[in-house]
Symmetry: C2
Subunit: 360 residues, 2 copies
């Protein structure tokens, strides 16, 4: 099979970690008989440096012509980077938001997994996480406050800023269906998170998720208020299977959940559209402080490549092989600095990529 993959190396540690993921993809190709055809695309700071804008129309078109896109991380240090002298709509993150919208990537999947071997890095007491946990956050990614109308204007001499949170039933239905589809292949429970005691958009969200739930008799739906969910993720992460929520709540809760696992350098993510196309990226940021040092953890990006094989190319066997290789490398005691613990062998970015390739 020919895999037509867009590559966005991105900023900070992006190029280093993406390089390792490409190495893993090539190794998979070699073993299973696929050819990876890469098209390099510029997004974020890297695009500003070349084109003056974080995303060009040409890049959007090129991305659309790919079957899937693998991305490093976008953005720099907001305090020191010249990118942040630009107005907000021209900064690196604006390119990320625009490409999500242009490609219709409404379904953002963020796994929150506690790896048995990495329990030491988890900030929670062991009695709360015994036996591990493994849930998936399904975040709506192209609606809500992120893409509503906004304006800042003077009203009677007083500056006023307005953002708009809007959802229609179709937007809610398609993400809810995705959540139920995925829950059906997991532990068959969807926790839909909203603020229905305050927001109209949440009340519509609740109504539509209930309609969708009626089509999935074997999946349980529960509703949870967002403030309660922020508590429950800390108190009892084992209770969750799939958390379904809107864009802004999902941004907050998925980052909280990734921290609760204690190993954000291990967490993949996928942003999917209506068909098989997806943008795959690590959950963590561009970590400009350690960029270029060869010490960043490439595993989140490698696992994102595995998600790409699974969701965009239906190559489950290949995805399993990558995930198993990652498990094995951890079992064999290799760690990058961010997940290092006593008795393990510390390795750099490139070495970690090699070790995983060897195990495929």
């Amino acid at each position: 099979m020919k895999l037509n993959i867009g590559i966005i190396k991105g900023d900070g540690i992006g190029p280093e970690i993406v390089t390792e993921a490409m190495k893993v993809l090539d190794k998979v190709g070699e073993i299973y008989g696929h050819t990876c055809d890469y098209t390099e695309l510029l997004l974020g700071g890297a695009s500003i440096d070349v084109h003056g804008v974080p995303l060009t129309d040409e890049t959007v078109e090129k991305a659309k012509a790919c079957d899937a896109v693998l991305m490093g991380s976008i953005g720099g240090d907001a305090k020191t980077s010249p990118w942040y002298q630009l107005e907000p709509s021209k900064r690196p993150e604006a390119g990320l938001l625009r490409i999500r919208k242009e490609l219709g990537l409404f379904a953002n999947l963020r796994p929150a997994v506690l790896y048995e071997e990495l329990e030491g890095a988890c900030p929670l007491k062991p009695e709360l996480t015994e036996g591990g946990f493994d849930f998936m956050i399904m975040r709506e990614l192209t609606g809500g406050l992120y893409f509503g109308e906004r304006k800042t204007e003077e009203k009677n001499g007083v500056m006023t800023a307005v953002d708009t949170l809007s959802y229609n039933e179709n937007e809610i239905r398609r993400i809810a269906k995705r959540a139920f589809d995925i829950a059906g292949k997991r532990s068959r429970k969807v926790t839909s998170v909203d603020k229905a005691n305050v927001l109209d958009s949440s009340r519509l969200w609740r109504k539509v998720t209930e309609e969708v739930a009626a089509e999935y008799p074997d999946v349980t739906l529960e509703h949870m208020l967002v403030d309660n969910c922020a508590m429950q993720i800390v108190k009892n992460p084992k209770q969750f299977d799939v958390i379904l929520t809107e864009n802004m709540f999902g941004d907050i809760l998925s980052d909280e959940a990734s921290m609760v696992t204690g190993s954000i350098g291990m967490l993949a993510s996928a942003s999917l559209n209506d068909s098989k196309f997806g943008l795959y990226e690590p959950s963590g940021g561009s970590a400009p402080d350690i960029a270029g040092k060869g010490i960043a953890n490439p595993i989140a990006t490698i696992l994102s490549a595995a998600m790409m094989l699974r969701f965009s190319f239906d190559l489950d066997k290949e995805a399993d092989a990558v995930e198993r290789a990652v498990d094995q490398v951890l079992k064999d005691g290799y760690r990058t600095g961010d997940i290092m613990s006593a008795g393990c062998k510390q390795v750099g970015t490139k070495e970690m990529g090699d070790l995983i390739c060897e195990r495929i």
Copy 2:
């Protein structure tokens, strides 16, 4: 001094815990020579049961005539209580939102404190919380998505729901000043939390907090994105002194923070207006499952009464005495069920109130 106090017993465990806080206030009055004059006010489910609505105009007027209001908790079990058969605007919580707005309670203070004696209940590993932590969330309470225009309507046959997030510079300035005032009496650091990489309202928030910071040269201001803050509260709660944020972010982060302390039954809160008036209530909910059993923890409400003495009546000595009595009762090994641990003596709601009174 005559203390003119409104009392909202509220729903669920509300009446039990408020009764103990009133006992403590009376004891303080006895010792320090004050008279507490209580006016009972109905809000939430208790008001629905009597008047059919969660808050009457008459109650609003009566509350305004008090110097401060002490409240239990509002609301019931959304799955089973008949209150939740009513439309959203008639449910218990709607009364709470309305009274906040009517009384102009824009500044919501929620302490997140790890009590040395209760470290066992904290979900975080001891190495993350060594030496304890003590921060304050200052949440804007009368603006943002909670009070913006909203509507649900059919557009070309598709149901669409819209909520509005709006802030003007005056609303931001007054809450920011409160945060800086309070930080000035604490560790002199304000962490302002927003989503300025996406929202116009957050960019205005950032600008105005910087203007306010210029008036407080001895207090440090840092900005943090809300998704990062949700991570940092778990990763390193010791870094915070005062967290300043808008209404919805504050709702989510304050609940996350209260769970991170591990003892939500200990956490007070105050909602203040432009003058000395305040509404004081425990951070936790109405816990309908344990209502009437005499086992709820009254300490959060008792500490809310202490905040009332301090903020609305300037009775610092009296507030200190209550807080010291609570510390002492913990040192003496008394615990309600929610914070019970090995080697301690378990007591009920009323006994806990008595034990605290004895120590004042």
